[in-house]
């Protein structure tokens, strides 16, 4: 299942690449992408796992760029 989340205050492109990398490596994630220009996070994962993946993704995002948040 593919889910798209909006992000806010994503200001460093290098960080976006790091987030994409880290989220893609989470267990259960088939693919993930962080689009710096449109500030969108796309996660492709099994439906029952998506909530827990999102939680982990939030942590990753705030670790890499403290000001940046995932909206939903």
């Amino acid at each position: 299942m593919k889910k798209v989340y909006k992000m806010e205050d994503l200001s460093c492109a290098h960080c976006a690449a790091k987030m994409e990398d880290a989220i893609s490596k989470l267990e259960g994630v088939e693919s993930a992408s962080v689009n710096f220009v449109t500030q969108k996070l796309t996660i492709n994962a099994a439906e029952n796992l998506i909530e827990s993946i999102l939680e982990q993704a939030r942590k990753i995002v705030s670790k890499i760029e403290p000001d940046c948040v995932i909206l939903s």
Binding site: D9, S11, C12, A13, H14, C15, A17, S33, N35, F36, V37, T38, Q39, K40, T42, K63, I64, P66
Partner: protein, 630 residues
């Protein structure tokens, strides 16, 4: 500017004021240091905090950390003014960068602002506005003048003109009449329309286009992946070199000042963020994708943009791509009567037939046939028609009909689809029916040649004579005729072997029955995709309307985008490299280093935005009228 950016600006101004005060004030050194420290904290407090926070979270080596080390290092060396100035300059650069990024985000968002926000629907005897996603297939919606068509459907009432430029890049409005199919994303210009919805919002044209454009950036160009890989190694490498630079030379070189080499190492740290590249390259590609979609050419990813820019051979399918795929009267050659009389005779005789050729004859005649002049009509399958017109027997059909039934001998004629006419046992002449070349087909080929495409090829299932004629008229270099669909793939393989290692082969088709060829080519381009889901699925690049000349425009956009991305790479790496070398030799101050970091980022972002503005430039290639019919 956002609130956050404004706050940042005030902080910079306050810190700068204190800094200037410190320089001008003839005060005691201790007081000066206090003033400088306050200025430094105002300017860089947030950087310090973020650096500290990141270290706690185990994220070292980000730019906050590097700037903290560099500026605190400068302060520790007693270079107060430089430490503050560098932090100030860095913050100004960051602010510029942040403004530039939000600006570019906004222009890209505007570009893709084709999402309809509401649909007017009748609920409880009243027209109300609802989200397009709530509308069901089969419901009737109202579209007022000035509104965006929210869903795909068929007009049931009213007439108007539609601005399709957001979808096709075409500026000429399209007429919309009852019974016409219209597509979401167009703008209704002047009349009120009632439309029956034929697809759910998720399946509609506008939703598909948005999905395609937004996902395009996930297929990364080689250049983008290179930059991402590069960034992963660049920062650690520079930091390691900086560490060596601070420690080794003072130990090895006799008389080397420790503080001098630490300063050089600090300048290194300032340059170690790869941000200029990491921001500007994807931004250039995004701009290019947005720019081409504004022209009605959807490119499915940065990698295809890269391939288009390297196009060397362009292969066209004939029918439906270079020609209109519909029959029309091309030439009237009378033998014994005026041309208009010959056409009238043929049109009258074919009045009752539904064959495409009969329809083209009636279309060319242009008047309602006077059925009272027609007597008995007999259709002879495989031959043509025998009809009684104005009391005389007329034969209209192919050469077999002429020779076997009408009993006339034919003069030598051209090859093609000919409709012969004989009246009262005498040959009256023939009418040539052909598929017509699109108005801009010749311009399309000329445009490709002008932008340096080495070879243009046409593939067709048609016979040799017609195929060669079309190719000659359009100036196409090579033509393969009488091909079965499977043969097309073979010919493509042959051509693929001809290109240079870095060159790419582009195939342009109508996307309906050439899926294998589209898939085999480096870049598969489907034409006339507006309303054709199959074509949008099959191709890598989609031309929304029927104009083959858009291909040259798309190649121009692709080349410009790649050019901008290359400029940015060379510029950013060049400046950084130069400052690194100068810094190591002790010839570059920290000022230069900050410029190499944020200054270069800002310039690269501004340059990247040019990729987006390509869309606004007029396409150089204008369609020319086809001077001759085939």
């Amino acid at each position: 500017m956002t609130k956050k950016q404004k706050k940042q600006l005030y902080k910079i101004l306050a810190a700068a004021a204190l800094y200037v005060l410190g320089i001008l004030l003839p005060a005691d050194e201790m007081i000066l240091i206090a003033v400088y420290l306050v200025s430094y904290l105002i300017a860089g407090g947030d950087v310090l905090l973020r650096a500290a926070g990141n270290i706690r979270r185990g994220q070292v080596f980000d730019e906050n950390f590097l700037m903290t080390i560099a500026t605190i290092g400068a302060l520790a060396l007693g270079e107060y003014r430089e430490g503050i100035a560098v932090m100030l300059f860095y913050q100004v650069g960051e602010l510029f960068q942040s403004v530039a990024v939000s600006k570019s985000r906004k222009s890209i968002a505007d570009l893709m602002d084709i999402r309809p926000d509401h649909a007017n629907i009748m609920r409880e005897e009243q027209w109300i506005e609802v989200d397009p996603e709530e509308v069901q297939v089969g419901e009737i919606i109202l579209i007022k003048p000035g509104e965006r068509v929210p869903l795909d459907g068929v007009i049931t009432e009213g007439n108007s003109t539609l601005d399709t430029s957001a979808l096709t890049g075409e500026s000429v409005p399209r007429e919309a009449l009852p019974g016409n199919e219209i597509f979401s994303g167009c703008i209704n210009l002047n009349g009120t329309l009632l439309m029956q919805v034929s697809k759910e919002f998720e399946q509609s044209t506008v939703a598909r286009i948005l999905d395609l454009v937004e996902n395009a950036s996930s297929k990364k160009a080689n250049m983008e992946s290179f930059i991402t890989r590069f960034a992963r190694y660049y920062t650690p490498a520079v930091v390691i070199v900086a560490a060596c630079l601070a420690v080794l030379p003072p130990l090895v070189i006799a008389g080397a000042q420790f503080s001098d080499w630490v300063y050089r190492a600090l300048t290194f740290l300032v340059i170690s963020c790869p941000c200029a590249l990491v921001i500007s390259i994807p931004l250039s590609f995004f701009g290019g994708l947005g720019g081409s979609s504004r022209q009605g050419v959807l490119v499915k990813g940065g990698n295809y943009l890269e391939a288009l820019a390297a196009a060397e051979i362009v292969v066209f399918d004939k029918t439906g791509t270079l020609t209109k795929g519909s029959f029309d009267v091309a030439e009237i050659v009378p033998a014994a009567m005026p041309a208009d009389q010959l056409l009238e005779l043929a049109a009258l005789g074919e009045s009752y037939s539904t064959h495409p050729i009969s329809q083209s004859l009636r279309r060319a005649y242009g008047k309602e046939p006077d059925l009272t002049r027609i007597g008995q009509v007999q259709e002879i399958p495989g031959y043509g028609i025998e009809a009684e017109i104005d009391g005389s027997t007329v034969y209209i059909g192919n050469h077999k009909l002429m020779e076997e039934k009408a009993g006339v001998r034919l003069p030598e004629g051209p090859v093609g689809t000919l409709v012969h006419v004989a009246k009262q046992g005498a040959y009256a002449g023939y009418i040539l029916i052909e598929d017509q070349i699109k108005e801009d087909a010749a311009a399309a080929i000329a445009g490709l040649k002008a932008c340096g495409i080495k070879k243009t090829v046409m593939l067709t299932g048609d016979n040799d004579v017609i195929g060669k004629k079309v190719a000659a008229q359009l100036g196409i270099g090579q033509v393969f005729t009488q091909l079965l669909p499977a043969d097309k793939v073979d010919k493509l393989e042959l051509l693929m072997a001809e290109k240079s290692p870095k060159g790419k082969l582009v195939f342009v088709g109508d996307g309906i029955n050439d899926a294998p060829v589209l898939a085999r080519a480096d870049v598969g381009v489907a034409m006339g995709a507006l309303g054709s889901d199959a074509a949008i699925e099959a191709a890598d690049v989609v031309i929304m309307n029927d104009e083959p000349s858009k291909l040259a425009a798309a190649i121009a956009v692709a080349r410009k985008t790649i050019g901008i991305a290359k400029q940015n790479t060379v510029f950013a790496l060049g400046v950084k490299g130069l400052v690194l070398i100068l810094g190591a030799m002790g010839m570059a101050s920290m000022w230069a280093a900050v410029f190499a970091d944020v200054g270069v980022s800002v310039l690269a972002i501004l340059n990247a935005m040019r990729a987006l503005s390509i869309a606004k430039e007029k396409t150089l290639i204008k369609p020319v009228a086809a001077d001759a019919l085939i």
